[in-house]
Amino acid sequence: MDYLLHLIVFVLIYGMVALSLNVASGFTQLISLAQAGFFWVGAYTSAILATQYGWPLWVNLPLGMLVAGVVALPVALVALRTVEDYFIICTMGMGVILFSVMNNWMELTRGPMGIPGIPSVSLFGHPLTEKWEWVLLAGCFYALVFWVAHNFKRSALGRILVGISEDEIFCQSLGKNVGLAKLQSFVLGAMLAAVPGALYAHYVSYIDPTSFTIHESIFVLSIIIVGGMGNLWGSLVAAAFMILVPEALRFVGLPSGIAANVRQMLYGAALILVIWLQQTKGRVAVNNLLEKQAKI
């Protein structure tokens, strides 16, 4: 039972990262591969503040969001000068730089040794030790992040972002500040990614750089592509699917050495399959519309 609750906490945490990536790139269709980096910034800020100064989650989490936002701002300023493939490559580069920093800045992050012994969260003097309490806590934060993302999608800014994904130049010609809108969504997405980061650090109580590599970014990207870009409920379903299916493979009796590879292959294959289906379906839809137009 505890195992199942543990998986639910992970689904909620990765669901939150997927939501934040949806805010950063789901609406504009500018895919960012730096999201695991911001997830890391949140986790490390929280972990360092908790272990060095003994501060509680309630202080660390807003500070982690702030630091992630500050890191994301120059990243966005540089990366948003490019579009499409080049934006993906540029953010991937940022992800690699962030990873190098955390892996090599020994004084601050202890490098590959990681930070052990991060204290758990305590609520009104009562430390959260039971798994179900963590499910509730992560659920509350998930609801909060979901609420922010949902309202963001319906806000004036969110509508500009959807406009950008459809026709950026037309959007600009209507007098919308396209660059500022993209910058705001990218930074907000990075700040939201710090929330699950801080929760992750306090929940797992040990973090090291290997949990935040480029593969993590690809994993989160595959969650939002499987769930549908810009689809908020889809992110949760896809996060559950992508985390629970590899766990189910354990019960089939796969040796653990192979299981990690199979897990990665699964999300790589899901990425290819979903894109292939979308492309063929999209092409069929476009062709149908064109035929209808031709008849009229």
Partner: protein, 214 residues
């Protein structure tokens, strides 16, 4: 309306290809890791020798082989793109796919050829780098990062500036490794990329390319 739908579809295709290829990369890497294990394997068959001496530098035989083969392949790729019919078709599809269809060029066939040739060149690069340093399932990622940076700083419009960009990147990385630390080599590559994207977005070749301009 028609044209709007089509441009919309084309725009989506912009990132779809790259994301799908990332998925393919993850699958292939893990297949190799399943088949051959995660440990580092040695490709060379002969014992390590001292190599030739040029001034103060020792250059191993395999490194000389790498220089010869890659120079040859680069020259033949340039010849292919500039002198043959297929090369002209590839460049035509790159600059204006719609016009190519009008001229009777099979777009998908040409793209297929381009991918096949590109993959072959990439495989050669992998084998050659395996001769020099050993191989493991994750070795491709670093090659990929570096080659993407070289592609962008060389200028995406043409391929003639690529060797210049590659030498520049390698020199910059190893200077950084010498003065700072080898662990910052990947970061230096991307810092150079970022600097180029800010101040010289068209790369060394300076040719215009529609994706970078906006």
């Amino acid at each position: 309306m028609n044209s709007h739908l089509q441009t919309h579809q084309l725009r989506n295709l912009g990132w779809v290809g790259l994301v799908a290829s990332i998925g393919l990369y993850v699958v292939l890497q893990n297949l190799i890791s399943l088949g051959f294990g995660d440990e580092t394997l040695v490709l060379r068959t002969a014992p390590v020798m001292e190599g030739q001496k040029f001034g103060n530098a020792f250059v191993s035989n395999s490194q000389i082989l790498i220089v010869i083969i890659s120079t040859f392949l680069f020259a033949s790729t340039v010849m292919l793109l500039e002198k043959t019919k297929l090369g002209h078709a590839i460049r035509g599809v790159a600059s204006n796919p719609d016009l190519c269809i009008l001229l009777g060029i099979d777009k998908n066939l040409v793209i297929g050829w381009a991918i096949a040739i590109g993959s072959g060149l990439a495989a050669t690069g992998g084998i050659l780098s395996g001769l020099d340093s050993d191989i493991s399932p994750t070795v491709g990622f670093r090659l990929l990062l570096n080659s993407v940076v070289v592609m962008i700083i060389g200028g995406t419009g043409g391929i003639r500036c690529l060797p210049l960009a590659a030498i520049f990147l390698a020199l910059a990385q190893h200077t950084a490794a010498y003065y700072l630390d080898a662990k910052w080599m990947d970061s230096v590559a991307f810092l150079i990329l970022i600097i180029f994207l800010i101040w010289k977005p068209l790369g060394l070749s300076g040719r215009h390319f529609k994706k970078i301009e906006i």
